[in-house]
Symmetry: C2
Subunit: 466 residues, 2 copies
């Protein structure tokens, strides 16, 4: 019985999957060129691990065995298994569990699906792939890695431009800046302020102002200061604008810790923006409204929009965290960023931005003259494959017109027609190969002939708007 698709669980057709494979190849290669080691974690974690940071409990899928063993005691709540909802929490657990056999700072990348039981929307799924990098230190982690992680992700996204991805803009902020600023103007419940400001893009400044008054108890001047801060952004000159704003709202008279936090944060933000301007000009910009809802960030935070597709939301986010991974004795501070691969792909497909040059890996289809001579076609195919040329053999010895249509419908560019190999003949007639796009057909030897390099494997190309 045919079933309708499950909403929120996207599946790609073979030609779309080729796009996905190339996208993942580009991302993984960029990560590996920067020395990140691949890690995969199991899909499940104990609920106690998943819910440690609260907030997301609603989104977790919990597992149970359809028929648990008789007499099997039901698991404690914390031991019940759930599917991971991101790759950061399982990685933090992996680091703690395997710390004795890892070397720190530990740089890993991780490309896997994650699951969230939320309501599906455009670009928001219940099962989706993420591509993460994190660097985790043992006890300490130098700030410059907050620069590296952002720029590696920017480099990966920029490299995807060759496949047809529109340019991106990475928006950065620093938790120390906003927390120092908030504390400096007398708002001490900085986490709550952050959670409200994080809603700015969704609910607008008026509602943010209302929530700041109602939920955080902010004064009019404090509300005004928060909103003024959230409007700042741009290049490294933003640092002076924040200082001016802090002066205007008398942060200078605040207690030392707040001022020190703000100053440290501004130093870091400035270093990030300057390095980015050198190493990835035009890609990274400050945006003091970027808050990132998650509690655990403590320094740089990142969000990324696809230019012309800002309504898709962030396609690459992350930040610095200090106490996500800890075994009670040791703490492993880290910084990470996550590319939303499925979100990117869904837009590439829905906006028809890219396509694969064919739907199969195959470059050559070897025709079959009649079923008694299938072995001759198999031998030609084996020779081509041994030379690295992806080759298929026609499934039936149908009329050649039908065999050519088999190739054409899949986008296979070449069809090989075996010759009439006479046993014992000195000069075996290997046959002829036809480019079914141009119709050109030439005599060829499978031990010698190669397709043009651009036809060897399917490629992903940008769709040129009509």
């Amino acid at each position: 019985m045919a079933r309708a698709s499950l909403s929120g669980f996207p599946e790609w057709l073979p030609d779309q999957r080729i796009v996905e494979q190339r996208v993942l190849d580009v991302i993984a290669r960029t990560f590996e060129l920067h020395g990140f080691a691949s890690v995969q974690t199991r899909a499940v974690e104990p609920l106690g691990e998943l819910l440690r940071k609260g907030e997301t409990s609603k989104e977790v899928y919990v597992l149970s065995r359809l028929q648990a063993d008789e007499g099997e005691a039901p698991a404690d709540e914390v031991d019940r298994l759930g599917l991971h909802f991101d790759l950061t929490v399982p990685f933090a657990r992996y680091v703690v569990e395997h710390a004795g056999r890892l070397t720190f700072p530990f740089k890993r990348y991780q490309i896997q699906p994650v699951w969230r039981g939320e309501r599906p929307q455009d670009g928001r799924f219940r099962e989706f792939w993420q591509a993460d990098i994190d660097v985790v230190g043992d006890g300490e982690l130098p700030f410059h890695l907050e620069v590296d992680v952002a720029l590696v992700a920017a480099e990966a996204l920029t490299a995807l431009g060759a496949l047809g991805l529109p340019p991106v803009r990475m928006l950065v902020n620093n938790r120390k800046v906003v927390e120092g600023f908030y504390a400096g103007i007398g708002l001490d419940r900085t986490e709550e302020v952050l959670r409200v400001v994080d809603k700015l893009a969704k609910i607008g400044p008026d509602d943010v102002a209302r929530l700041l008054r109602e939920e955080v108890g902010a004064s009019e001047a404090q509300v005004e200061a928060c909103l003024a801060l959230s409007r700042l952004g741009g290049d490294v000159t933003v640092v002076d604008q924040v200082r001016d704003l802090a002066d205007r709202y008398a942060v200078v008279t605040a207690d030392d810790p707040a001022r020190a936090l703000l100053a440290t944060g501004l130093g870091e933000l400035s270093a990030l923006l300057e390095a980015a301007e050198q190493r990835a000009p035009g890609v990274v910009a400050a945006d003091l409204s970027v808050a990132r809802g998650l509690d655990y960030y403590t320094g740089s935070v990142y969000e990324t929009v696809l230019l012309g597709h800002e309504n898709l939301g962030s396609i690459c986010s992350g930040g610095r965290y200090d106490s996500l991974a800890t075994d009670g004795k040791r703490t492993f501070p880290g910084v990470g960023i996550s590319i939303g691969v499925s979100r990117l792909l869904s837009r590439l497909f829905s906006a028809d931005l890219v396509r694969a040059t064919r739907s199969v890996p195959t470059a050559v289809l070897v025709a079959v003259v009649d079923e008694d001579r299938r072995a001759a076609s198999d031998a030609i195919a084996a020779t081509l494959r041994s030379r690295g040329i992806p080759t298929d053999v026609a499934p039936t010895a149908a009329k050649f017109g039908k065999q050519i249509r088999y190739a054409d419908r899949r986008g296979i560019p070449f069809v090989w027609f075996p010759g009439s190999d006479e046993p014992g003949s000195d000069q075996a007639a290997h046959g002829e190969v036809k480019d079914i796009r141009s119709g050109e057909q030439v005599a060829a030897d499978p031990a010698m002939w190669s397709p043009p390099a651009e036809d060897l494997w399917p490629r992903v190309v940008a769709v040129v708007p009509q």
Copy 2:
């Protein structure tokens, strides 16, 4: 808090993951060279889909949302979601669901994790990776694809020998042969007979004989015939031995359908064995005891053992099926085979058969002279990476000895020491690169120098027993 590993959910360390990546690369490349297109299906299926073939209900993990929306009606049993327990059932559903946008015969490969709630044992996990190929036709599927699928899998496993995998033996049988034989000796409940014979390796011939008597009601002569058949195997001469046995047990006097089924099956088995001897000499052998428990097989069936590690069980199994995928009107017969990647890897690791040459992708570590000159090291690294050389930069400007240890502990073969670049100097002193294995150190230019090809990326090599 540190948590113990979850039994049955293996996770690899970074150097093991490199082995896994190479194994998957070799398998995927072999599949693509044969024209199989990559497909991935969602991790979940409705229970109605998963349980269609019965038998496995005990193994299914069922999902529920930790906090379902208020007022959300509980899902019907058949609509509840479970994690897939293999890749064949989801693929059958994918084919039916997307049939209108696929081209048939459709050749796909699929490499994903699957989940089964069974008790973990050596080589048997609750989460494990499979690498499958299937060819599915629309209404019909020529027999020769049963040959191709087996030989493509054999080729992939043989190619893994270059990484250190021991040789394999693929054991093949044909459902038509055994079902025709059983029916020919008067045992009509062939599925039950198959299920009993499938236990041969586990419980031995005496218990199989007892179960045949007790559960299938077989006579002594019938038991003897079944056990005699199960002992046959080897090269293509097995076909005559089966014919002799059939004569001895008077299958010749059986009804026409049974004899015809046996004859067709023997023709297919013989064709498979002969093609295998030509195209993959020494890898494939007949084994008439291979039954494969699953009901849906109708022709060739395959199992594969790792030589010297037969106790691991089958590492690559599959067969021909005729009615697994159907939408009521159309039926899509297929043939497929599945490599148990996690089972293979677990043995490669536990028996210490292979190792990666390092635990990171990095070929070069660029040292940092002092933090003020980190940008110079970053620039050298960027140049090397732009030339495709995986490069890391030391995380701190520690003493060079400590920076060399950073490389050494990860197996990074080269450390680059930046020169004292004088701004404005014509001839920039790019520095020197040291092979930390030999100690050899030479002056080098990051725009020119390359590591030896065998050091560019980590490799997987066989461990030579001491």
